[in-house]
C-alpha cells in the first residue's frame, strides 16, 4: 500500500511558501516593505530639525515639534498595531479586554492630538549653536526653500534641488507617503466596490447580472482619464488626498468586478456551494463564508496589480496638474515641475521617475508571484 506523507500545511502557508520560492516576487515584496518603512519614517529621514539636540546643557528633540497630527497618529498607532500582533494569543483569549485597552488608547491619542496644535514651522536648526546634535539623513524639510536653486545632485542635496531650492530627496521621501497610501487606499475602495458588484452579479445571476454587466461595460467604454478628470472636477480646487483616493477608487473597480463575477459563476456550481444551500445557509452567509474566501487568491492578485496602476494614475494626475494642492510633495508633482526645466535639470525628472519605476515594478513582481503561487498551472516563468 502506498502511503502519502501527511503535511499540516494550511492554504495560506502553502501560498506563502510558493510565493517565496520565486526570487523576483520575494525581492519585490522586500522593496515594497522598505519603501513603506522609508515613507513611514520620512519626517525622521528628511527634516530641517535635529532629531536630538544638546544646547545649554538641555537635551531636546526638535524633530517632534515639526510633526503634524497625521504623523503623530501614525507614530502612536503603529506601536499599537505591533503590540496587538505580539499579544495576539492572549488577546484572542480575552478579546473584550483587548478592545477596551485599544479603544481607550485610541481615544487618548485623539484627545492628545486635538489639544496640541500642529506647528508648521518652516524654520530649521541646522545652523543654530549646539554642542551636539543628530540631524536627519536629509537635512531639509520638503517645503523648505533654500537659496541654492537648481543645484545638481551633491552630498548636501543627494537628488538636487528644484526652482525654489527645495530639496528633491526630502520631497521624494515625503512624496512616497502620498503615492504609497494613495495606491493602497484607492485600490481598497476599488476592491470594495468591485467585489460587491461582482459577487452580487455572479451569485444572483439573471437580470441583476445582466444589469451589472452592462454597467461594467459602460464604465469600461470611457477613456479612463476623461472619466477621472470629469469626476475630479466635482471636488473643485480643494484636492486633498482623500478626494484623489476616492476618485481613483470609484473609476477603477471594473477589473475586480469582472473577475469576482467569473469566480462566483464557477464556484457556485461546485458541490460545496450546493451543500451549503442544502443545509439552508442564507445567501449572505454563502457569499461571505463559502464563495468569497475561495476567490480570495484572484482578488489579491487583482488588488496588487491595481495598487501599481493606481500609483501610476496618481502620478499622471499630479503631472497634469490635477493632483494634490501645491505644497504637498508628490512624485508626479516633481515630474510635472521638471517639464519647464527639462532642457538642463535632468535630476528633476530622473529621480521621481526612478522612484515610480521601482515602486510599480516591485508591486508588479509581487503580483506576478502571487499569480504563480495561487495557480501554479499559470506559471509562466
Amino acid at each position: 500500500m502506498n502511503t502519502v506523507p501527511v503535511t499540516h500545511e494550511g492554504n495560506a502557508q502553502r501560498l506563502w511558501r510558493r510565493f517565496c520560492s520565486d526570487s523576483f516576487a520575494r525581492n519585490g515584496l522586500r522593496v515594497v516593505v522598505v519603501l513603506f518603512i522609508l515613507a513611514a519614517l520620512a519626517p525622521f529621514l528628511a527634516n530641517g530639525h535635529a532629531i536630538v539636540r544638546v544646547a545649554d546643557g538641555q537635551i531636546t528633540f526638535p524633530v517632534f515639534r515639526s510633526l503634524e497630527p497625521i504623523e503623530w497618529r501614525f507614530l502612536l498607532y503603529v506601536p499599537l498595531a505591533g503590540m496587538a500582533y505580539i499579544f495576539r494569543r492572549p488577546l484572542s483569549r480575552h478579546p473584550r479586554r483587548g478592545l477596551v485597552v485599544g479603544g481607550s488608547f485610541i481615544v487618548l491619542v485623539e484627545i492628545f492630538l486635538h489639544l496640541t496644535h500642529p506647528i508648521n514651522d518652516p524654520s530649521n536648526d541646522r545652523d543654530s549653536a549646539a554642542s551636539f546634535r543628530i540631524l536627519p539623513l536629509v537635512h531639509y524639510s520638503p517645503i523648505e526653500t533654500t537659496p541654492d536653486q537648481f543645484s545638481p545632485p551633491s552630498w548636501q542635496h543627494p537628488c538636487g534641488t528644484d526652482s525654489t531650492g527645495r530639496d528633491i530627496a526630502a520631497r521624494m521621501l515625503h512624496g512616497a507617503r502620498i503615492s504609497l497610501s494613495i495606491g493602497f487606499v484607492s485600490q481598497g475602495i476599488a476592491l470594495l466596490i468591485g467585489v460587491t458588484m461582482g459577487s452580487v452579479a455572479g451569485y444572483y445571476r439573471g437580470w441583476t447580472d445582466i444589469g451589472i454587466c452592462r454597467f461594467i461595460e459602460i464604465m469600461d467604454c470611457f477613456p479612463t482619464l476623461l472619466l477621472i478628470l470629469v469626476v475630479i472636477s466635482f471636488t473643485g480646487s480643494q484636492n486633498n488626498m482623500f478626494c484623489i483616493m476616492a476618485v481613483i477608487g470609484v473609476t477603477n473597480w471594473t477589473g475586480a468586478a469582472r473577475l469576482v463575477r467569473g469566480e462566483f459563476l464557477r464556484l457556485s456550481a461546485q458541490p460545496f456551494t450546493l451543500a451549503a444551500k442544502a443545509v439552508g445557509a442564507s445567501d449572505l452567509r454563502i457569499i461571505l463564508r463559502h464563495l468569497l474566501p475561495n476567490s480570495l487568491g484572484p482578488i489579491l492578485i487583482v488588488g496588487t496589480f491595481g495598487v501599481a496602476s493606481a500609483i501610476l494614475l496618481e502620478s499622471s494626475l499630479s503631472f497634469l496638474g490635477f493632483g494634490m494642492q501645491a505644497p504637498t510633495p508628490s512624485w508626479g508633482d516633481i515630474l510635472s515641475e521638471s517639464r519647464r526645466y527639462i532642457d538642463f535639470a535632468w535630476w528633476l525628472a530622473f529621480f521621481p521617475g526612478l522612484a515610480i519605476l521601482v515602486t510599480i515594478m516591485s508591486y508588479n513582481f509581487v503580483g506576478e508571484g502571487l499569480r504563480d503561487a495561487v495557480d501554479p498551472r499559470l506559471r509562466v516563468k
Binding site: 461595460e217 482619464l225 501610476l312 527639462i342 538642463f344 519605476l357 515594478m361 509562466v380
Partner: protein, 329 residues
C-alpha cells in the same frame, strides 16, 4: 453566427445610450461649465461677466433646460448624425474631431504596429528558449520597460536626445518644423517622421510586456500539443516544426487580442500629446474639459465608446473566424 452578431449589434444601442446619458449627466452636474469658465475673466485680465450676460449665455448654450430634456435633444440631433457645434469656436464638432483624429491615429497606429512587430518575435524567442537565460532576460527587460511611466520616459528622452544639454538629434515637440510649408514633399515627410519618433517610442515600449507575454504563452501552448510531437517524430527539421506548425497555431489568439487594442487608438494619449505639444484627440479632450465645451466632450465620448464596443465585438467574431473549433451557437 449571424443571429449572434445581430444580437450583439442590437445590444450595442442600450449600452451606448447608457454611456452618453452618464457622461451627459456627469457633465451637467459637474462644475465644468462654459459660462463659469468664461466668467472667470477677472484673473486673466478680462472683465467679469454680468449676471445678465451669464443667463443669456446659459440660454444660448441650452444650459437653462433640465438635463434630461437637453439630453433628449442631444440624442435626437445625434441620431441625425449632427453632433452639434463647439461652444468655444462654434465650429461643428465633427469637423473639430476630424482634423485631429488623423494625427492621433497615425501616432497610436504606428505605436501599435511596431509594438506587435517587436513583441511577437520576442515572445516566440522566449518560448522557444524556455527557461534559459534568453527567456529570463527578455521577460525581465520587457517588465522593466512596462514599469517606466511614459511621461518620465518622455521627459528624459527629450532631455537626452532632443534639444536638451546633451544630444540634439530629434525635434523636441510639435508635429512639423516651423518652416515645413516651404519643404518639398519628401523633405516634409522626413520632417514629420522625425517629429513622430519620440511620441511613438513613448507609446510603444510599455505595451511590449503584455503582448510578448501573451505571444510566449500561446507559443508554449502550441509547442506542447500532440501534433508538434508528431511533427518532430516524423523527422521534420526544428525550423519547420516551429514556423510551420507551432507558430501558425500560436498566432490565432494573438490576432484576437489585437482587436482589443483598437480602442486605445483614439484615446489615452493625453499626457504624451501634452508633453510633445501634438494637436491630437487627447489635447482636444483636455482643452474641451478645461473650457467646458460639452458638445466636443460628448462627441469624443460617443466616438470612443462606439470604437470600444465594436472592437470587443470584432474580437469575439475574430475568435470564431480564425479558429473554427469555437462556436457561439
Amino acid at each position: 453566427m449571424t443571429t449572434y452578431i445581430i444580437r450583439r449589434i442590437l445590444l450595442l444601442f442600450p449600452t451606448l445610450l447608457g454611456i452618453t446619458l452618464l457622461t451627459f449627466l456627469l457633465l451637467r452636474l459637474s462644475p465644468i461649465n462654459p459660462a463659469s469658465s468664461k466668467g472667470q475673466g477677472n484673473e486673466h485680465g478680462g472683465k467679469a461677466m454680468t449676471a445678465e450676460a451669464r443667463t443669456q449665455m446659459l440660454k444660448l448654450y441650452g444650459l437653462d433646460k433640465p438635463p434630461l430634456v437637453a439630453y433628449a435633444e442631444w440624442v435626437g440631433r445625434s441620431l441625425r448624425l449632427d453632433l452639434g457645434d463647439s461652444f468655444v469656436d462654434h465650429r461643428p464638432v465633427a469637423a473639430k474631431i476630424g482634423e485631429r483624429i488623423g494625427l492621433t491615429v497615425s501616432i497610436t497606429g504606428c505605436a501599435l504596429i511596431i509594438s506587435y512587430l517587436v513583441a511577437i518575435p520576442l515572445g516566440i524567442i522566449a518560448a522557444i528558449k524556455r527557461g534559459q537565460a534568453v527567456d529570463r532576460t527578455i521577460s525581465f527587460v520587457v517588465f522593466v520597460l512596462y514599469s517606466i511611466p511614459n511621461f518620465a520616459a518622455a521627459l528624459l528622452l527629450i532631455l537626452f536626445v532632443a534639444g536638451g544639454d546633451y544630444l540634439n538629434l530629434l525635434p523636441m515637440y510639435g508635429i512639423n518644423s516651423i518652416n515645413s510649408s516651404e519643404m518639398g514633399r519628401f523633405q516634409w515627410l522626413w520632417d514629420r517622421v522625425l517629429h513622430m519618433i519620440l511620441p511613438v517610442v513613448c507609446l510603444t515600449y510599455g505595451s511590449l510586456a503584455s503582448i510578448s507575454r501573451y505571444a510566449r504563452v500561446s507559443m508554449l501552448e502550441a509547442l506542447g500539443q500532440d501534433f508538434i510531437r508528431t511533427a518532430r517524430a516524423k523527422g521534420l527539421p526544428e525550423r519547420l516544426v516551429i514556423f510551420r506548425h507551432a507558430l501558425r497555431n500560436a498566432l490565432i489568439p494573438i490576432i484576437t487580442i489585437f482587436a482589443l487594442e483598437l480602442p486605445g487608438l483614439i484615446g489615452g494619449t493625453i499626457i504624451i500629446e501634452s508633453i510633445f505639444s501634438l494637436p491630437g484627440m487627447g489635447q482636444l479632450m483636455f482643452q474641451s474639459l478645461d473650457t467646458g465645451d460639452y458638445p466636443v466632450i460628448m462627441g469624443i465620448t460617443v466616438l470612443a465608446a462606439i470604437i470600444t464596443l465594436l472592437s470587443y465585438l470584432l474580437a469575439d467574431i475574430l475568435y470564431v473566424v480564425v479558429d473554427p473549433r469555437i462556436s457561439y451557437e
